[in-house]
Symmetry: C3
Subunit: 319 residues, 3 copies
């Protein structure tokens, strides 16, 4: 494996999930595989789960880790090719990526969507530039449009809770929020679900359609209750409008997920990537119920990261 | 040992101090005990000594360490149960504690007193909530009312300088400061001294009484010179008013500790937890004198942390 | 080796460079030499290359590393001896240096020039105070006047590209910038070049003379084109005025380095310490040309740090 940016970098999802579940059983089995190698974790944005789970995964593999909060600890990056750098940016991403590649054998990069320039976000301007100039494998710690380590952890979590006797119905439901939030987690979950044979439904208010390159063949249902009918897994997440890019488009109906709304499901398991705005996106009763998988998802972040890091350290192996 | 929050988590103080002194002689003797385990150090506030000494102690035990400056590197925490999170807080402490427990085998938490809501501080609202929702042992890196790793280091330092032929007299003296400072170090030192058979005196201006749950049986003497008479150890520290909560109540007398004031002592050793406002709390001549133990205290922070981490890694052993 | 602050701490530059080149061939050969020892990296200023390369070097030697962003993560330092600390500074550098020495076997310190008080910067006030009060070896991660790890990496890079049949001509050329930048890299490169038998020329506009204690015997040529004639290596760097201390003195001529200007050189290799203001200091075409050594310099930072750390760990060995 040479990079990890999207579901498209995975050739056999079932095998990858199974590998991660095997690692979870014996996380220290290959604790020398990374010896003498260094993983750089570069954050342009805040992070709790990604920051800790990826460090933990690296430690399990014997990889040295160096964490860099790029803007605060180093220098503000310039992203324009050919820029005359007489403004507030101090180092070109071209130089940063090249230099970081001198010290690291693998680099993880977090670069959220700016949500102001749709074209730049959709084209993954920052991640692409960084990867272009890096000379070592780059893994996404969430980029403008996708969050693959989260989605892989979500797939692991679903695999651990599959119903015995049926193909599961998985529903991704939009949730309210007070701020403008990237589409990355929603896009990414949709992209990975579209790689499975699960029944996959996305429900959201009109105006909150995801980019169709990620929602693809998913059923879109604007009526939340109808969508939730017989669901086995309900994934809750807010995102801002893709069409009216980055905007919080007013919604009249009540989209807060509650136990009452979940009554129509097949005793569905509840998922959220966290952090969650409690009682704005989902009610406490749902998040703290026995059906909530939110902390298992967080736990599986370690094994998602570890299986990817292992394959990248090994280099040639497919994922 | 399952937690470390206060002197009350220690059953045999003398034995604990002796264990720490033994570790100091051979700090790398058990350098494999933490192998494959991870210590998370979570800071809601600044830290120098605690940050470094605890990392050093963990390294001596072979524990992996992950440091998180929670608000700057991750998300601002919500502390109200049942909150509708439509404000500036991004992640509930309930979720943060649960999630951090997925990646860490032990968590250290620093959460200073806010000094605005006495009831919340006295009830240790933040530390208690975190510990309630964490599923792994939590150790205090200074909470609202106590600083147990500092106090244990102080006990080690005193043990290393005990007079041969007498029970020592230990004086905790209040010192001036320009800002509103928590009572945690003062409370904590009092709590630990009250576990010994030392003669223990607290001296402070009227209005600066500590919470009696910590000062307990200590002799309170408002005349600093009288308190210092024949002292073997003088611990200097500022704290804001507990009664007039968090306020810097005006003081007319001169409480700056100087060599002249120390003349009445039994050639007392001088202690301070640092950082110290030089020539405001204590004069340079005192801090830099041969009798000053301030850097030995700092050094002993490592062995205080190490003895506690060792007992927590071992799990069932009492402290 | 007991400290590393300047070229004057090096007795045999050729041997040191050769040792670094040997380490580069087998960086993990002595991966146990630092076992049980701790390197503290203390930053008062931003850092990318120094931060990562020194951590990488330490990992290669089995040294534990603790990174501290002093002002953000700990406390603001007081630098005045005898200060009555009733202002905004929280901890005296005397106490910080002493305390850090309790936890670290070696300390690296970055403390840029403030560029407002010439006397303080020239006297290396901060680095000197820190070293005075530290009880372990201190290495400079760039101080007010010098950047020795950068210069050593530069010497390694030049050694790897020496012309076969002649003594090289090395030119340090001033470059434009929009901000007030320390002289440290320029000073330091000059100081190290003056330790070689290379032909060494410094070119800059009038008013940008470096401190003569560092420029020493170097040829000063105010005409950039004349200076560049037949150069084998061109080192580009901005610095603010030393005479009109810290000021950006207006320059009428065009000092931006371009391929056209380089035509008079002996197909010169191009060097810059980074970060670089592209198309302000140097044009993209120069930085991205085949002759550019900028990423090799960055890579060699690791081996410069590693050779120094190794000699300091060994203690008595000369450098």
């Amino acid at each position: 494996m040479k990079r990890f940016f999207s579901a498209d970098d995975v050739t056999d999802l079932d095998a990858l999930v199974q590998d991660a579940i095997d690692i979870k059983k014996s996380p220290l089995l290959k604790s020398d595989i990374g010896k003498g190698k260094t993983l750089g974790l570069v954050f342009l944005n805040s992070s709790l789960r990604t920051r800790l789970s990826t460090q933990k995964a690296a430690q399990n593999l014997g990889l040295n880790t160096i964490v860099l909060n790029a803007a605060q600890e180093a220098w503000t990056w310039e992203f324009e090719e050919g820029a005359i750098m007489n403004g507030s940016t101090v180092e070109h991403i071209k130089d940063a990526a090249n230099v970081l590649s001198q010290y690291c054998d693998i680099i993880g990069l977090r670069c959220f969507a700016g949500l102001t320039n749709k074209e730049e976000d959709v084209s993954e301007k920052i991640f692409s530039l960084f990867e272009k100039y890096a000379s070592v494998p780059v893994i996404s710690l969430e980029s403008a449009t996708l969050h693959p380590l989260q989605s892989l952890a979500d797939c692991i979590t679903i695999a651990e809770h599959l119903p015995y006797d049926k193909k599961p119905k998985v529903v991704l439901t939009w949730a309210p929020h007070i701020k403008s939030i990237p589409q990355a987690v929603g896009n990414s979950f949709a992209q990975w679900m579209n790689k499975t044979d699960f029944e996959f439904v996305i429900t959201h208010p009109k105006g909150y359609e995801l980019d169709t390159q990620f929602s693809q063949k998913a059923t879109i249902e604007h009526n939340q209750q109808k969508a939730l009918q017989d669901a086995d897994f309900v994934y809750v997440k807010n995102w801002s409008s893709f069409e009216d890019y980055g905007q919080v488009v007013p919604v009249n109906e009540d989209w807060l997920l509650t136990n009452e709304k979940l009554e129509v499901t097949n005793n569905a398991k509840i998922m959220h990537c966290l952090p969650v705005r409690r009682n704005v996106e989902v009610s406490d009763e749902v998040l703290d119920s026995e059906n909530s998988l939110i902390y298992e998802q967080a736990n599986n972040r370690t094994f998602a990261a570890q299986v990817i890091l292992e394959k990248i350290v090994k280099g040639n192996e497919k994922a």
